[in-house]
Symmetry: D2
C-alpha cells in the first residue's frame, strides 16, 4: 500500500476506497442510511468506551501510549468509514458539509465572546 | 469561501481548519479525548435520530429530499468535526487509520465468502 | 436468590441492590453523573448493535430465539443498571420521572390525533 | 395522579403504563426491537449531552440544582421508557435481567479484588 497520509489524501479518494470495499461484497442492500447511521453511533460508543472511567485530564495521557493510541485510531476509523459510506449512499460532499458547519459555528460562537468558555452564562 | 469539494480537499486541510476554529476560541482545555469522544457519540445519535422511526427502505428516500439531505449533511459534519478535533489532539493520521482499517476488514471479510451477506451463518 | 420478578419488585429494591454492589467495591468515586451517563450510552449502543443489520420486521424475530433473547436482556440490564446508579447518585425517583414523562407525552401526543402515526404531517 | 414513588411501584406497573400508552396510539407497528433500541441510544445520548463539557466533579453539582435535576430526570425517563417498551415487545422480565446481571458482575468483579479500582492492572 502506498504511503497515503492526511496531507495528500482527499476525502474523494477515501470515499472511493469505501465504495469499492462495499461493491466487492455486494453490501449495498445493507447500507441504508438508517443502518449506516446506527453503525456510526455504535462505533462512536466503542470509541467513547475507551475513556469511560477516566477523568478528562487522564484521558489526554493516551497521546503518549502507542498501543492505546492504535486502538483509538482504529475506533475512529470505524466511525469515519460509516460517514464515508453514508456520504456515498446520499451523494453528500462531506468536505463542503464540514466547512459549511465551521462557517456556521464561527457565527454562532463569535471568538471574542466565547474565548475560553463554551457557554455565555458562566 | 472558495469552492473546496471532496475531490480536491485533503484531510490535513480540514484538520487545520478545525484546529484554527478551536484555537481562536481557546477551547483546547475543553477538548480532552474523553469530551471529544462524547461529542462524537452525541452527534452520531442526533444523526441517527433522523432515521429513528422509518424502515430501511424509507430511509433511502432522503436522497431525494434536498431539505432533509441538508439536515443530514449538517449532522454528519458535526460527527466529522469531533473526529478531526480528536485527530488533532492525539496527533492521529486519520487517513492512514481509515486505510489500515479497510485493509484489515478486507482480510476479515473476504469478498468471495461475504458477498451479499454480513454473517457466514446465514 | 429468591424469585423476584417484575410483578413484585419495586424500583427502590433494585436501586438498593445497585447501591450495595457499588458500596461493596468503593466505586462511588467513579460514579459521577458524567461517567454514569456515558456508561448508559455505551450499553445502549451495545444493545442496538444486536439489531444493526436487520430490518425492523426481522428484529422482531428475536422474541422467538431464547439464546438471542438472553443476550438482549443482558444488554438491557446493563443500561438499566446505569440508570439505577444515576438515580442513586442524584437522589432521583425514577418511577415518578417515568410516570411524569408518560403524562407529559399523553398531552404532547393526543391519542386521537396520533393514532397509527408518529408525525402529523404524514 | 396518585403518588407512586420508587418505594411502592413495581416494574410490572410501569410496563403496563407504557403498554397502555402505546396501545392507545396504535404505535405497536413502530415498536420493533430495532427501533426501540435506537430510541434508547438516542435518549441516552441526550442524557449524556448534559454532561458533555464538564469535569466529573462538576457533573456531581447537578445534584444541588433542582432545575437541571428535573431535566436530567426527564432524559432518564426517556431511556427507561424505551427499556420498558422493549421489555413489553420481547416479554422480558427486566427485574430478573437486572438481578441476574448484578449476580454475574459480583462474580466478575470480586469485591476484595476490585475495591476502589475498576481494573486490576492499575
Amino acid at each position: 500500500m502506498p504511503h497515503m497520509p492526511d496531507t495528500t489524501t482527499t476525502l474523494a479518494v477515501l470515499k472511493e476506497a469505501m465504495r469499492q470495499f462495499v461493491a466487492e461484497r455486494n453490501w449495498e442492500p445493507f447500507h441504508s442510511p438508517k443502518n449506516l447511521s446506527m453503525g456510526a453511533a455504535v462505533e462512536a460508543a466503542e470509541l467513547m468506551e475507551h475513556f469511560l472511567w477516566v477523568d478528562n485530564e487522564t484521558s489526554r495521557q493516551v497521546a503518549g501510549d502507542p498501543e492505546k493510541l492504535a486502538e483509538i485510531a482504529d475506533e475512529m476509523a470505524d466511525v469515519a468509514c460509516y460517514l464515508l459510506a453514508l456520504s456515498n449512499v446520499l451523494a453528500i460532499d462531506l468536505t463542503e458539509a464540514i466547512l459549511a458547519k465551521l462557517a456556521k459555528n464561527a457565527i454562532k460562537y463569535p471568538a471574542e465572546k466565547y474565548r475560553g468558555r463554551f457557554r455565555l452564562d458562566e
